[in-house]
C-alpha cells in the first residue's frame, strides 16, 4: 500500500476523465488515495472525487488559481505533498499535467515517468511502462533514488471506473498564499468546436489526404457527431491544409489511445501508426488493400470512404435510436 496523491484536473468546473482513471486505479490497489483539487469555486467537486476513489481531498480554492499556471499550482501542490509524505504523485498526461509535472519533479528532486500507458502498484512504489519512439517500442521505467515517484498517465490507458455514490472523503481546505508569480493567464480562448479533443475522446475518426479537400472532412465530422467522437487527421492531410495541426495524429502530432480509432483514407505511414497504434480497436477504410494501415487494423474495409462513411453513419445512427 502506498500514499498516493492524484492531481485532480478540472476545466470550467468539470473534472477530467483522466482524474477519475487515476483515482480508480489507485483505490483499486488499496492505496491511501488523496486528491488535490485546485481552482476557484471548486470545493463542490470534492464529493465526485470521492465517488471515484479519493479517501481525502485537499481543496485549494482561491481566485489566483482560477486558471492553471505552473507557477501558482506548483506552489500549492508542493506545500501539500511535502507536508504529507506523498510516496507516489499521479497526474494525467494532459496539456496541464505535462506542463506541470516536470516542475514538481525538479522541485522535489524526484524522477518523473511521463506519458505512461501501464501502471501497477507494488508496495510503496509503482511499475510503469511507456511508449518510446512514439510507440515504435515500449520501455519499463525504473526510478532511481529515494524521493517520491511521479507518473503522468496517457488518457484512456487505465479506463474510467464506475462511480460509487455512497463513498465519501474527508475534505480539507488548503491555505493558499501565492508568492511572487512570473506567469499570468490573461485570457482563455475557447475552441470553436464542441467535439472532444483527439487525445481525450473515446472514439477518434481520422482522415487522410484521400479526403481531397477541407470541406470533405464534413463527412467525417457528421459521423463523429453521431457517436461523440473527435476528428483527427494524418500529417498529409494537415500539410495539405485540410485540418489544423492540433488535429494531427502521429509522431509530430498527437499520440492517441482511444477505445476505437477509425482511419479513413489513411495509408498508415510509420509516423502515423506511431500516434495511434495503442488504440484498443482500429478500423481502416481504404481503397488500397495493400495499405499498411490494414496491418494494424482489427477491422478492415477495402472500399471508397466516400461511400462507406455515409453508410456507416447511417448504421450508427440507427443503432443509437434503438
Amino acid at each position: 500500500m502506498a500514499k498516493v496523491f492524484v492531481i485532480a484536473e478540472q476545466r470550467d468546473g468539470r473534472l477530467k476523465k483522466s482524474t477519475f482513471e487515476l483515482l480508480g486505479a489507485s483505490a483499486a490497489a488499496g492505496n491511501e488515495t488523496h486528491a488535490i483539487l485546485l481552482g476557484e469555486g471548486v470545493a463542490g467537486l470534492a464529493a465526485e472525487l470521492a465517488h471515484y476513489g479519493a479517501n481525502k481531498v485537499h481543496v485549494a480554492d482561491h481566485a489566483g488559481l482560477k486558471f492553471y499556471t505552473a507557477d501558482a499550482y506548483a506552489q500549492v501542490i508542493l506545500g501539500v505533498v511535502k507536508s504529507s509524505g506523498a510516496e507516489i504523485i499521479l497526474a494525467g498526461h494532459t496539456p496541464t499535467g505535462r506542463d506541470l509535472m516536470p516542475k514538481l519533479a525538479a522541485r522535489l528532486d524526484a524522477g518523473l515517468a511521463s506519458d505512461c500507458t501501464s501502471l501497477a502498484f507494488e508496495g510503496a512504489t509503482v511499475k510503469v511502462r511507456r511508449p518510446v519512439y512514439s510507440g515504435k517500442a515500449t520501455a519499463e521505467v525504473e526510478f532511481i533514488g529515494s524521493g517520491p515517484k511521479l507518473v503522468s498517465m496517457r488518457s484512456n490507458a487505465l479506463g474510467v471506473p464506475k462511480p460509487d455514490t455512497s463513498k465519501t472523503a474527508e475534505a480539507v481546505s488548503v491555505a493558499v498564499s501565492l508568492g511572487d508569480l512570473k506567469t499570468k493567464v490573461t485570457e482563455v480562448v475557447k475552441g470553436a468546436s464542441a467535439r472532444p479533443d483527439v487525445t481525450e475522446a473515446s472514439i477518434v475518426v481520422s482522415g487522410g489526404r484521400s479526403l481531397k479537400t477541407a470541406e470533405n472532412f464534413k463527412l467525417l465530422e457528421d459521423m463523429a457527431d453521431v457517436v461523440g467522437a473527435a476528428v483527427g487527421a494524418s500529417r498529409a492531410a494537415v500539410d495539405a491544409g485540410y485540418r489544423p495541426h492540433r488535429d494531427q495524429v502521429g509522431q509530430t502530432g498527437k499520440v492517441v489511445s482511444p477505445a476505437l480509432y477509425v482511419a479513413c483514407g489513411i495509408s498508415g505511414a510509420i509516423q502515423h501508426l506511431a500516434g495511434m497504434r495503442t488504440s484498443k480497436v482500429i478500423v481502416a477504410i481504404n481503397t488500397d488493400s495493400e495499405a499498411p494501415i490494414f496491418q494494424v487494423a482489427d477491422y478492415g474495409v477495402v472500399g471508397d470512404l466516400f461511400q462507406v462513411v455515409p453508410a456507416l453513419q447511417g448504421e450508427l445512427s440507427k443503432m443509437k435510436d434503438h
Binding site: T69, R98, D99, V132, A137, L260
Partner: protein
C-alpha cells in the same frame, strides 16, 4: 539580446526501431539522426527574434554524445551564431540532460530568452523544456503557437485541449517551448552550410556544469517492440453491406459503440 536555443538530436521519423541484444535500449546502427522536428521551430523563432533586434546573438546548445555536434551544425547552418555541446552519456534521462543544459546556461554572462521544442520525438517525455527552465530559474510557457515579445515580458498563445488556447504572459528572462506551426522554419542555404563549419562550438563536460550521477532520476529498461497484431477481419461486400457488418461487429464483438 542573448538568445539561446536548446535542441535534441533524435532518430529520423522514418526510422524502423530495432532493439539491442539485451533489450536495454535500441540498436542505433545505421540510424539517420536529425534535429527533433519541434526544435526547428525553436531555432527559427530565435533567428527571427535576432533579426528584429540587431546586435543579438543566437547560441545553440545540445546535450549528448559526440554525434549531437552534427545537430548543432545544422542549427548553425540555419543561421545560429555559435554552439555549445555539453557531453552527457547516451542513457542520460531528462533530469540529467536538463540540469546539464541549465548548468551551461548559468555559465553564460546573460540569458535573455531560451527557446526549445515542446517535446523531442525520441522519448516524447515532454519534460526537458520545463526542467531546463526550472534548473535555470526561469519561468516558462510550453506548446506555444505564437509569441509577442515585449521589453519585459512575452505574451504567448499556448495550445491546450479541445482547440482552446491560453494567453499566457511570461516575465523575461523566460523559456519558450515551441509547438509545430509557430513559424515556418527556413532551410539552410549552401553559403550558410559552408559558414557553419567555421563557427565555434564550445565543448563542456558534465562535471564543468555541475551535473553528477545522482542527477539521473529514471532509467528505461526491458524495451519491447509492440506485439505483432493478429490479422484483422476483412469486411467484404458493397459499401452498404460493409457498413452494416462493420457497425454490427463494433457493437456486438468489439463493444465499442
Amino acid at each position: 539580446m542573448n538568445i539561446y536555443v536548446c535542441i535534441k538530436q533524435v532518430p529520423d521519423t522514418e526510422t524502423k526501431i530495432k532493439l539491442n541484444g539485451d533489450n536495454s535500449g535500441i540498436d542505433t546502427t545505421g540510424i539517420k539522426w536529425i534535429v527533433s522536428p519541434f526544435d526547428e521551430f525553436a531555432i527559427e523563432e530565435a533567428l527571427r527574434l535576432r533579426e528584429k533586434n540587431p546586435g543579438s546573438t543566437v547560441t545553440v546548445l545540445s546535450a549528448g554524445p559526440t554525434r549531437v555536434v552534427e545537430a548543432i551544425r545544422t542549427a548553425l547552418a540555419m543561421g545560429a551564431d555559435n554552439g555549445i555541446h555539453v557531453e552527457t552519456p547516451e542513457t542520460a534521462d531528462s533530469n540529467y540532460s536538463a540540469k546539464a543544459l541549465a548548468g551551461a546556461l548559468k555559465k553564460e554572462p546573460k540569458v535573455d530568452i531560451v527557446f526549445t521544442g515542446k517535446e523531442a520525438i525520441d522519448d516524447g517525455a515532454a519534460q526537458g523544456s520545463q526542467l531546463i527552465a526550472e534548473f535555470a530559474g526561469l519561468p516558462y510557457a510550453t506548446v506555444v503557437l505564437n509569441a509577442e515579445y515585449g521589453a519585459s515580458s512575452v505574451k504567448c498563445k499556448r495550445e491546450v485541449e479541445g482547440g482552446a488556447f491560453e494567453m499566457l504572459e511570461v516575465q523575461l528572462p523566460a523559456l519558450i517551448a515551441a509547438q509545430k506551426g509557430m513559424n515556418e522554419p527556413r532551410y539552410a542555404s549552401l553559403p550558410n552550410i559552408m559558414k557553419a563549419k567555421k563557427k565555434e562550438v564550445k565543448v563542456l563536460k558534465a562535471s564543468d556544469v555541475g551535473v553528477a550521477d545522482a542527477d539521473q532520476k529514471i532509467r528505461f529498461k526491458n524495451f519491447q517492440l509492440p506485439p505483432p497484431k493478429q490479422a484483422g477481419k476483412k469486411i467484404s461486400g458493397d459499401p452498404a453491406t460493409q457498413a452494416k457488418e462493420l457497425a454490427r461487429l463494433l457493437h456486438e464483438e468489439a463493444k465499442v459503440v
